[in-house]
């Protein structure tokens, strides 16, 4: 049940706080997202810079970088995911507890970036795990990471607790773990997870 926005403000002026369980729940979740302490490449340095005094990610409730995936809500894929690293990234994602979110930080995490043509470079982490926010840049500035963070908070705010679009952690049937690719003789096997990333057909 949605409360009329004007009525809510009016009641607020009188000292009465009205909210819905959904808003309260989402407010709590979005205000203390704990990212995983996990850096891959160049972007990790900018991620560290974001947590430092100048950009101060703590303003958004996300300064608690957790070393263990079990305690983290957010995986910031900060940098090039190589084929040798991809199984570990997927495994770490699988180990995270629901609700979990992924930010693909930088061109490499999105698509392979400048290294796309490399034989050992994965062409985007969204081939294996679902990504919530992509931020382009090589590397993205700390402001861009903050923007991605705010975008993610908005996304969490809009999640409904019930119904078809409820987040995976409230949906018993939703997929929480994704298959970990294996090292093959020439490439990763499989080269992508079609359940997560349908191979695009580009028609020009």
């Amino acid at each position: 049940m949605a409360v009329d926005e004007k009525l809510k403000i009016e009641l607020g002026k009188q000292g009465v706080f009205v909210t819905t369980l959904q808003e309260l729940y989402n407010w709590g979740r979005r205000s203390s997202i704990w990212p995983m302490q996990f850096g891959l490449a160049c972007c990790a340095i900018e991620m560290i810079a974001t947590t430092m005094a100048r950009y101060d990610m703590a303003r958004f409730g996300a300064e608690v970088f957790r070393p263990s995936p079990r305690q983290a809500d957010l995986m910031i894929v900060s940098g090039t995911v190589t084929k040798k690293m991809a199984p570990q990234v997927v495994r770490l994602y699988n180990q995270m507890a629901e609700p979990k979110y992924v930010i693909a930080m930088g061109a490499c995490a999105i698509s392979g970036g400048p290294f796309k043509q490399g034989y050992n470079v994965l062409k985007g982490i969204d081939r294996y795990i679902p990504v919530d926010v992509h931020i382009p840049g090589c590397p993205p500035r700390p402001e861009a990471l903050l923007h991605a963070f705010i975008t993610l908070q908005k996304k969490i705010d809009e999640q409904h607790l019930t119904g078809e679009e409820r987040p995976p952690h409230l949906d018993g049937g939703a997929q929480g773990e994704f298959p970990v690719p294996e090292y093959g003789e020439h490439d990763l096997e499989p080269p992508s997870n079609p359940g997560v990333w349908p191979v695009p057909i580009t028609i020009r």
Partner: protein
């Protein structure tokens, strides 16, 4: 520091039986290198490290180079007797013709080492070793026992180029995973075809994207037909 010729003669005087060649370098850097024969390479390396005058105690850089089979086309002037009919009479004449000859220079893998001296602060002295071919005679002696800094670099050469270093204490793949089969830095390596489309100006990438598109569209059409068949 001694000139490259002096180093060559010093090596040949100190290590009996060692054959040393000089590989000239055409660039203005003037860094010529010494070509060692693999049988005596370790002895030569020890001499270079321990010699009082050279004292090349610091192996800075070790790397591999892949030289493919080269087809050399050269035009050769050949003089040969030709029989011609001049005024109804057969005459044998000498004639010079240009002939195009092709021969294949077999490829090889090469290991290159850059040496400096930390004690005497000079360098570089560049050593090269060549394998017999690119397929089955790819063994070279390891210089890791002489200079420890070759340890990871030789592993990298083994991983990416496929040169097998005999005498290396721990020869495993270093950058790629263990059951990877190829040697990706070789110039004829074919990488897995795993990306579809990207906005680029590189012709080969566009051609590859077009091939992918054709394959995908073909399979998409097939899938649509199959679906239509199932509905019917």
């Amino acid at each position: 520091m001694k000139s490259i010729e002096e180093i060559k003669s010093a090596i040949e005087a100190a290590v009996s039986g060692a054959r040393v060649g000089i590989v000239p370098n055409g660039s203005p850097s003037g860094q010529h290198s010494l070509l060692l024969d693999p049988q005596h390479a370790v002895a030569v390396a020890k001499f270079l490290r321990d010699d009082k005058e050279l004292q090349l105690d610091f192996l800075s850089n070790a790397t591999g180079v892949d030289w493919l089979d080269k087809e050399i086309t050269e035009k050769v002037k050949v003089t040969r007797p030709v029989t011609k009919t001049v005024d109804g009479v057969d005459q044998t004449m000498e004639e010079t013709v240009e002939e195009t000859r092709k021969h294949v220079q077999p490829g090889y893998l090469e290991a290159v080492y850059h040496l400096y001296s930390m004690a005497r602060k000079h360098g570089p002295v560049i050593l090269r070793m060549r394998t017999g071919n690119r397929t089955d005679q790819v063994e070279l002696p390891s210089l890791t026992p002489v200079w420890r800094s070759a340890e990871f670099q030789e592993r990298e050469i083994f991983d990416l180029f496929g040169i097998v270093f005999t005498g290396h204490p721990d020869l495993r793949r270093i950058l790629m995973w263990d059951n990877f089969k190829d040697h990706p830095m070789r110039r004829d390596y074919v990488e897995p075809d795993d990306f579809e489309y990207e906005p680029t100006a590189h012709d080969e990438v566009l051609a590859r994207a077009a091939a992918h598109r054709a394959a995908r569209q073909g399979s998409a059409v097939a899938a649509a037909e199959a679906n239509a068949g199932a509905e019917r």
